[in-house]
């Protein structure tokens, strides 16, 4: 029931212009502006390729930019798309559980004294520039994978088609591992904040009902923080799918689709990074690279939509009860 004072206040507020809204919405339009600029530049740049290849670009796996007889390029995006999706999936497979584990460790389990140093250490991982990851990858990770991990997997799980083939360390598995390492700090940082912000009341309620620490985490904390956790995964996925430098240096760069994870492959950013600076004056080739970037946009869009669906599903099923 509204009192006299509340009525006056409401009327006053209705008459006063909402400056907050104006200021905030003006700045918020930065994001659509950026997106529009990106789309404009990409679509404009890829017109030649859209015209030349049409829909077939998405289904073709041939990549012949300079045919020997001087003919027009024959290009297809499928190997790059495949590589992008697979490496991101591998990265998320490793990174999400590890990030969640770290977040829980830092917020719930670590003794007070260890907490800040552990946060500091994980953020160090984020501080490493991607080019240093690439150099470290070539120097250390690739030989490590090719001498120990790949043969081990070949020996033990070699009946699976994903673990077959020659191993020289350059391939989707190594790229997935390096991506996982790179996105762990992002996932962990956001997940930690989200888990920490779960109200004490939720935890105390669970403990009061007789739950152990693990059960509290599993039944009270994680479900409450689930939308935030998914947001963290989405942020991490964005990082993984767009990573250029480190992946380009360890993935082997061959336009091919095979089930094996050991074999050199490519991702969309690696193709763009490798070939963009060398395509001067070649209209369709350059446009095809722009079109690849556009496709990446679309893939990121779809993956985000899937994340969205997961969030709304969880909210709908009543596992989450705070204001969204």
């Amino acid at each position: 029931m509204q009192t006299q004072v509340e009525n006056t206040r409401a009327r006053q507020r209705a008459r006063r212009p909402d400056f907050l809204h104006t200021i905030l919405i003006v700045t918020a339009f930065a994001i659509p502006v950026i997106a529009t600029l990106c789309l404009y530049a990409l679509i404009n740049g890829s017109l030649d390729s859209l015209q030349a290849f049409g829909f077939g670009f998405l289904t073709s796996s041939q990549w012949i930019p300079n045919p020997p007889n001087g003919g027009p390029p024959i290009l297809g995006a499928l190997p790059a798309m495949y590589g992008s999706v697979v490496t991101t999936a591998i990265a998320l497979l490793f990174a999400v559980p590890i990030s969640l584990g770290i977040a829980l460790f830092q917020s719930e389990l670590a003794p007070r004294k260890l907490r800040l140093p552990s946060i500091f250490l994980v953020e160090l991982l984020a501080a490493v520039p991607s080019v240093v990851y690439g150099l470290w990858g070539i120097l250390f990770l690739v030989p490590f994978m090719s001498n120990y991990v790949d043969p081990g997997l070949l020996g033990s799980l070699g009946f699976l088609p994903i673990f077959q083939g020659e191993t020289n360390g350059l391939g989707m598995l190594t790229a997935g591992v390096i991506l996982a390492i790179m996105i762990i700090p992002y996932g962990a940082a956001v997940m930690r904040e989200v888990v920490t912000a779960v109200p004490r009341a939720q935890r105390e309620a669970c403990i009061a009902l007789g739950g152990t620490k693990w059960e509290t985490m599993r039944m009270a904390v994680i479900p409450y923080a689930s939308t935030g956790i998914i947001a963290a995964v989405v942020l991490a996925m964005g990082r993984a799918i767009g990573e250029t430098m480190a992946v380009t240096m360890v993935i082997g760069n061959v336009a091919r689709i095979t089930p094996s994870l050991f074999v050199p492959a490519e991702t969309i950013p690696s193709v763009i990074a490798n070939e963009f600076t060398e395509v001067a004056g070649n209209g369709v080739y350059l446009a095809a690279l722009f079109e690849l970037a556009l496709i990446l946009f679309a893939i990121a869009f779809v993956m985000n939509l899937i994340g969205r669906l997961l969030i709304t599903r969880l909210a709908f099923h009543g596992k989450v009860s705070h204001n969204v």
């Binding site: 990549w63 020659e166 760069n253 490798n274």
Partner: protein, 431 residues
């Protein structure tokens, strides 16, 4: 809200800051201490050494006529050089350049040295790739560009008024890794162009293929798969390598061709192993990490990284190991009398008994009329022209220390002819 007590927070923050300061100080101090013992020396080869290298002629009659024309032009050029050297910049200028990564170390050495001679002239060069250099100079966003591969007619047509001239050259080495099979890196394997083409087309798949065994009798080539490493990014190295294969192997010319970036049959041929490495270090790293790998890298990488290097059969039928000397011979014997109107020179598979067959020039790209580039003043144009003149003369002495090959005399003469045509809206810039 629950806060940590202030003193606890403050003390933790202070500890963190002090720790950071200690780490940085320790790093600096330690580095200072250790660095005094290690300092690499850049020897600048004297002009004398260079001229002695260049005068080692292989017995070809064309050499004689080149020498006489060289002395004739050099007489007129001596007076030109002295008047050029007397130039002083009239105002402070800043020049921005970008292009190929292959000549980056040499060009950067030139710009820094030139800045020491003429502090008013600041030239900055960034290596973003040959294609980047072509893109940027065509769009007139930089003042001059650089490219390993010569521009095609289409590319020149897209940038009217653009011209190019070679400023240095290099070679492409074939490297391999058979150490685990008992063949150490200092063993020189022999290759012909058809064998190399066969490997990169996925036809020759094992090291003990009869073709390879025939070329290398007495060397225990193993029954192992060949991993053929190539470049994943576009590059002038690939251009020179595939150009050589196209010129010497008709199969390759028909199936693959030559360009800064090609489609490698070895990647998709059944039973064959192909890998793409990013940049020269990517290829070198892949070769080092893979037993039974073969790859092609810039000569400089082979020299600086002690990779196993193969001898390639040249046009005269000799087995030549790449070095600064053998590449220089290739340039001297192949170039003849270059035409200043079109300085796109191909020197692969050059004549001459000791010429290395896989050699390539690299080019600087600039507008003949420098006023075509917006933001270029007369002072800047003069500075650029004088810098180019200096680079092809005095600048060449810095090449060998960085493992680059100095320009042969006939190419310097042709470059001079081209530089004399540089102008600013009609006003010649040199002398």
């Amino acid at each position: 809200m629950i806060h940590m007590s202030n003193t606890n927070k403050n003390s933790k923050r202070n500890i963190a800051i002090v720790a950071l300061v200690i780490v940085i100080t320790a790093a600096v101090a330690g580095g200072y201490y250790f660095s005094t013992s290690s300092s690499s020396s850049t020897q600048t080869t004297s002009m004398q050494e260079i001229s002695s290298m260049m005068s080692e002629t292989s017995p070809m009659t064309t050499e004689q006529s080149m020498m006489t024309s060289e002395t004739m032009t050099s007489q007129t050029m001596i007076s030109m050089t002295s008047s050029v050297a007397a130039w002083q910049p009239t105002s402070s200028v800043q020049v921005i350049a970008a292009g190929a990564t292959f000549p980056q170390p040499l060009i950067q050495k030139w710009t820094v040295t030139y800045n020491q001679i003429y502090p008013d002239v600041t030239i900055s060069y960034s290596g973003i790739g040959s294609g980047g250099g072509i893109q940027q100079i065509t769009a007139k966003v930089v003042d001059f560009g650089a490219s390993d591969a010569p521009l095609s007619n289409a590319q020149l047509a897209a940038a009217p008024g653009l011209t190019l001239f070679p400023e240095t050259l290099g070679g492409v080495a074939i490297t391999y890794n058979l150490a685990t099979y008992g063949i150490p890196n200092n063993t020189t394997l022999r290759f012909t162009s058809s064998v190399i083409a066969g490997i990169y087309m996925g036809v020759i798949q094992k090291w003990n293929d009869p073709a390879l065994v025939a070329l290398n009798p007495g060397i225990p080539l193993p029954d192992a798969h060949i991993t053929a490493v190539h470049r994943s990014d576009g590059s002038g190295t690939t251009f020179a390598f595939t150009n050589f294969l196209s010129v010497t192997d008709p199969n390759w010319a028909a199936q693959v061709g030559y360009s800064t970036s090609v489609t490698w049959p070895v990647d998709t041929a059944p039973g064959a192993l192909g890998v793409g490495g990013k940049g020269n270090p990517g290829v070198a790293g892949a070769v080092k990490n893979t037993n039974g790998a073969i790859g092609y890298v810039d000569l400089i990488y082979a020299i600086e990284n002690n990779l196993g290097v193969g001898a390639v059969e040249n046009a005269a039928g000799n087995w030549i190991v790449p070095s600064i000397q053998t590449v220089l011979w290739a340039a001297q014997n192949a170039t003849g009398t270059p035409n200043p109107a079109d300085l796109r020179l191909h020197i692969v598979n050059a004549q001459g008994p000791q010429s290395y067959p896989i050699a390539t020039y690299t080019y600087l790209l600039v507008y003949r009329d420098l006023s075509l580039n917006p933001g270029t003043t007369l002072a800047k144009a003069q500075a650029m022209a004088h810098f180019f003149w200096w680079a092809i003369h005095d600048g060449q002495q810095y090449a060998p220390a960085l493992d680059y090959v100095p320009l042969p005399a006939n190419v310097v003469a042709a470059d001079e002819q081209l530089l004399l045509t540089l102008n600013y809206a009609g006003t010649p810039l040199l002398p």
